[in-house]
Amino acid sequence: MIEIRDLTFRAGDFQVRSVSLDVANGEYFVLLGPNGSGKTLLISCLCGLLRAESGRILIDGQDVTHAEPRLRRIGYVPQDYGLFPHLNVAKNVTFALRAAGHSRAAALVKAGPLIEKLRLGHLLDHMPATLSGGERQKVALARALAIQPRLLLLDEPVSALDGPTRAEVIEQLRIVQRDVGVTTIHVCHSTDEALAVADRAGVMIDGRLVQTGRLEELMEHPASPDVARLLNARLLPRA
């Protein structure tokens, strides 16, 4: 269970204010919002890369608001995947396990099921620069899941992918998330993408989380004209 209570923090001149949100165990929560609304900043704060000014972040009842990032056990996949360019796929995937003190062989054995699930076995010796966008995304996901996170944060995980790859990766994301059962917060712009994966969604505008609920509910009963505009605008192509 992820509990965020009145979380306020600042990045330069931009402030994210009084965000409160509960995400149940195993739930797939999608955070929607326009560019510059503070979505990425919020997940940076959740994984400890931005300092909270006030409020609390609890994971399974444990207050991690001021804990170091390494102690939070939160898996994070950034928008550009953030693969370590000097390490091959195997070393990227087992990075966290090696940092935790596992030997190279033991780390590879431990990450084996994930590597198999994400079908990365044939890529283990490849360097990130030689991978396609979809493959990089899968490697980043495997690396984040290798720490057996209590929360998985995905920052626009398919925004850099082309249409067919995007659909395939979204489907795989959902399958893997259900298999692993990890609580997930997925940031994106696209309502279509959210509809494909979300159990629940929230809309962030101008540093505030303005509405949460099932996506269909948000679309039927938007809390403000801004929310309506955001969600309806995304639905226009489908209509």
């Binding site: 400890g48 890369l49 939070r72």
Partner: protein, 270 residues
């Protein structure tokens, strides 16, 4: 730059390339003059002289020690300059470059003057820590004259690494030290090695500060550049030329190494 349509050769390309070729030709002519002037048998004879062998030996030993010190200081200093902003950091950054632009003899004079102050006198009074007219003084001069190049290279290398990768390492269970050792350091490796090579090549050529602080005592504080100067001062050009060619070879090897590591564009391109 991709080729654009139109003539391949035009006024700008001719003029700029002419300057480039003229300069390279001038350098090659100087090297050729050295090579033509020096007779191989004279060079070999000079290289067998005990004082010359000692100068080469002392140059290699002192620059090796300097290299270790440079690496120990330049890597963390370059990282700090790259990653942290604090009041006065811009001034610190400028001071780090000072030894590059200062006339070398000024560095020597400043060091000599420092060791005449009470703090310097105290350091000199420690039995194993004397710098004036000692080999340690040579290392100190080489260090001051070369460390700035390595710091600049180190900073440029760390600047080129996306800081978010270090942050990601933190979310993957690393401490700050582990993130540095497992992500930043290996990613900066080529730049750091090239910076160390550059600093070493610079240290090999240091003369005037060493002359001021450590003196030019035969078989004691005599380095390769010192020998060149000593031989020239008594009109013996062959030994000076022989050692000049040795230093030229060292400089060429260092430059080739740096280019192979692909770093020069990053240092001077910033």
């Amino acid at each position: 730059m991709p080729a654009v349509a139109g003539p391949r050769v035009h006024g700008v390309s001719i003029a700029t390339t002419t300057f480039l070729v003229a300069f390279v030709m001038a350098v090659l002519v100087l090297i050729a003059a050295d090579l033509f002037y020096a007779k191989p048998e004279t060079i070999l004879e000079v290289l067998r002289l005990p004082e010359v062998q000692h100068a080469i030996y002392l140059s290699l030993v002192t620059t090796a020690i300097t290299l270790v010190l440079v690496i120990v200081f330049a890597v963390p200093m370059g990282y700090a300059l790259s990653r942290y902003r604090f009041p006065g950091s811009v001034v610190l950054d400028a001071i780090v470059d000072l030894p590059i632009v200062l006339p070398p003899v000024v560095v020597g004079v400043s060091l000599l003057v420092f060791f005449r102050t009470s703090a310097g006198q105290w350091i000199e009074s420690v039995p194993w820590l004397g710098f004036v007219y000692t080999v340690k003084g040579i290392v100190l001069c080489q260090f001051f004259m070369s460390v700035s190049y390595a710091i600049r290279a180190s900073k440029a290398s760390f600047d080129g690494i996306d800081r978010r990768l270090e942050h990601l390492a933190l979310t993957l269970g690393c401490t700050q030290a582990q993130a540095f050792l497992r992500v930043s350091l290996p990613m900066a490796r080529n730049g750091l090695v090239a910076g160390a090579v550059m600093a070493w090549a610079r240290a090999v050529g240091v003369f005037s500060p060493v002359y001021v602080l450590a003196g030019a005592v035969r078989m004691k504080t005599e380095l390769m550049p010192t020998t060149v100067w000593l031989e020239l001062s008594i009109g013996r050009i062959e030994p000076a030329l022989a050692l000049s060619l040795v230093m030229l070879a060292i400089a060429m090897v260092a430059l080739v190494l740096i280019h192979l590591l692909g770093q020069t564009h990053r240092w001077w391109g910033l």
